[in-house]
């Protein structure tokens, strides 16, 4: 039964800070042997990963990077050929490791003979729910993904986005502590994407660890605290989004009235200022980089005394996409 003190039927976190990490892998790898000739394919190689309980974590990588294989090893669907993995401290080869996990597969094939409701009831029964409790919980999760009105329609009639929502609902049925979502917003319209993001934020606020496997880098950057980048089965980078996208210094855009920048500014800037545009009346638009906050303030004072107009000031930062592309290109050139 739902705890009346919780919103949306989401249980509060169980000792988020204390206890083992939600996910931990040590040297995990998967070597496939294909065909009669036993050709080998190293899908995942020696990956060490740690996802703290209560975190929002994004696993990134190009197609064929080994992301899905890694997730399937964590869920015991694929057996590692080396190393090990633990979910909340339980070896992933032990099925009890999955008792606290809700999973949305990327290419889940939902049986078309089910309605949304009957699919959830079936999965609820597999998880030990029954009777009125089952019906109540099914109603709850249908409401959480805004699918109540379509619940009695056959899945064969569902759009891709509706199937994703039902998939998320089945992942939420058993009030998981760890949600592993493979491309959760794939095929979902912008309104639906926003609702799913809000739901995940809400779940995470209540202590649910969210592990996101997504190609949509902006989504991961916006939502996740930590990320890892996988390429050709190897872990290239991992850390907090803030750390990875961090670049020191600030940049500002300004207009100098007479075309020249004030004397003395060249002592404050970290790179030579770039003239971006020259106007007919002699004004010039400049891009100026400075290394730290003190130098930024000194540069602003100087520019203002010189009657330059300051348009924008930004803290220097890479986008996750830039970090991702740089990491993948660097790895490819090795």
């Amino acid at each position: 039964m739902q705890n009346p003190s919780t919103a949306n039927g989401i249980a509060p976190a169980e000792s988020v800070a204390a206890g083992p990490p939600a996910i931990e892998t040590k040297g995990i790898g998967k070597l496939y042997r294909l065909g009669w000739k036993q050709r080998t394919l190293q899908a995942v190689e020696n990956v060490d990963l740690r996802v703290a309980a209560g975190a929002t974590f994004g696993l990134l990588g190009p197609n064929g990077a080994g992301k899905t294989t890694l997730v399937k090893m964590l869920l015991g669907m694929t057996k590692p050929s080396g190393g090990g993995a633990w979910i909340y401290g339980v070896d992933c080869r032990d099925r009890r490791a999955r008792t606290r996990v809700g999973y949305l597969p990327e290419n889940g094939r939902y049986p078309a003979y089910h309605t949304g409701r009957s699919l959830l009831e079936f999965h609820g029964k597999l998880g030990g729910l029954e009777g009125a409790g089952l019906g109540h919980r099914v109603d709850e999760v249908l409401g959480m993904v805004s699918m109540r009105q379509w619940a009695r329609l056959r899945l064969a009639k569902y759009s891709k986005g509706m199937l994703q929502r039902i998939g998320i609902a089945q992942a939420l049925l058993h009030r998981p502590s760890l949600l592993m979502l493979d491309e959760p917003t794939d095929g979902v319209d912008p309104v639906g994407r926003s609702q799913i993001r809000e739901l995940l934020v809400d779940l995470n606020a209540k202590g649910v660890t969210v592990f996101l496997n997504s190609h949509i880098l902006a989504e991961v950057e916006q939502y996740c605290d930590d990320v890892a980048i996988l390429h050709k089965g190897r872990l290239l980078l991992s850390g907090s989004v803030e750390e990875l996208t961090h670049r020191s210094g600030y940049s500002l855009l300004c207009e100098s009235p007479k075309g020249e920048l004030p004397q003395g500014l060249d002592h404050l800037v970290s790179d030579r200022p770039q003239a971006l545009h020259k106007y007919a009346d002699g004004r010039v638009k400049w891009h100026v980089d400075v290394a730290n906050l003190d130098l930024l303030n000194a540069a602003i004072d100087l520019l203002r005394r010189h009657r330059s107009q300051i348009e924008t000031i930004e803290k220097n930062q890479n986008t996750l996409e830039e970090v991702f592309l740089e990491a993948v290109r660097g790895s490819t050139h090795e």
Partner: protein, 287 residues
Amino acid sequence: MNSSTHGAGGLKILLAIMEDTIHEAFTRRLVWAIYGSTAFILLFLLFVLEIDIVTGAKATISLFGQEAMSTGSDESLATFLREVNGAIAVFLYGVSTFVAVFVCAGLTPGLFEAGRADLLLARPLSRHWIVLGRYLGNVAMVGLNVVVLIAGSYLILGWKSGYWNSGFLYAIPLSFFAFCVLMSLVTLVSIWTESAAVATIVAFLAMLFSPILAQRDLAIRLLGSEAARGVWTAFYTVTPRIYELGAMIVGKLRGQPIASWEPVIATALFGIVCLAGSVALFARKDY
């Protein structure tokens, strides 16, 4: 922690997957194929087949009002009716097994396909419950049909002819048994290949080759090479004895004791090996 975080017990998982299998068969109208063919056969026996017995000495079988068979000059009425019952029992044994395997072979692999299996495997379930649940769901659905078809036919034939031979009812356990064994083969092939077509073909090959392989004594006499005789015997030994199970029904109708339980034992062993192999293969399989 509550039960929902631990997952259901083995029996509940088994029942949930059995129920889901039957639900799938109903919504895909496969159940109607099985029970529809049963209803057709029973209606045929009820309305189309006529058994006329004249003064307790001569019997005539008519179909659509036309005489199809009658007692021969040197044949007793009881012998004639026994042979008719035998032919119908063997026909029902063959047809019910064939239809059930055809329908269920198409149903079974779906659950084991990547993408659909993922949803189950991500849950804290033992993989063997998933295999057994699917298998038993099919068996339960077909078992009831076998009882309805053969018991119904027995009652109609007995009512029309006044001839009641309980040997006819041996077709119930033997048909059910043959289906269970063939279904274990279908399950094994389904998990291995994830293909309904391959599973169906392999099951039908087992049915098709059974009467051929059963002619082992004749083959041993006719085959020239020791190696060929060895291969024949090996195939005969390791494949299910579907034909010989059918012959046992006729034997029981004739009131003969079962000469050897070897076909039953060999077939049961085949089924057990296939089912154990299915469980082991599914437990080891990477998705």
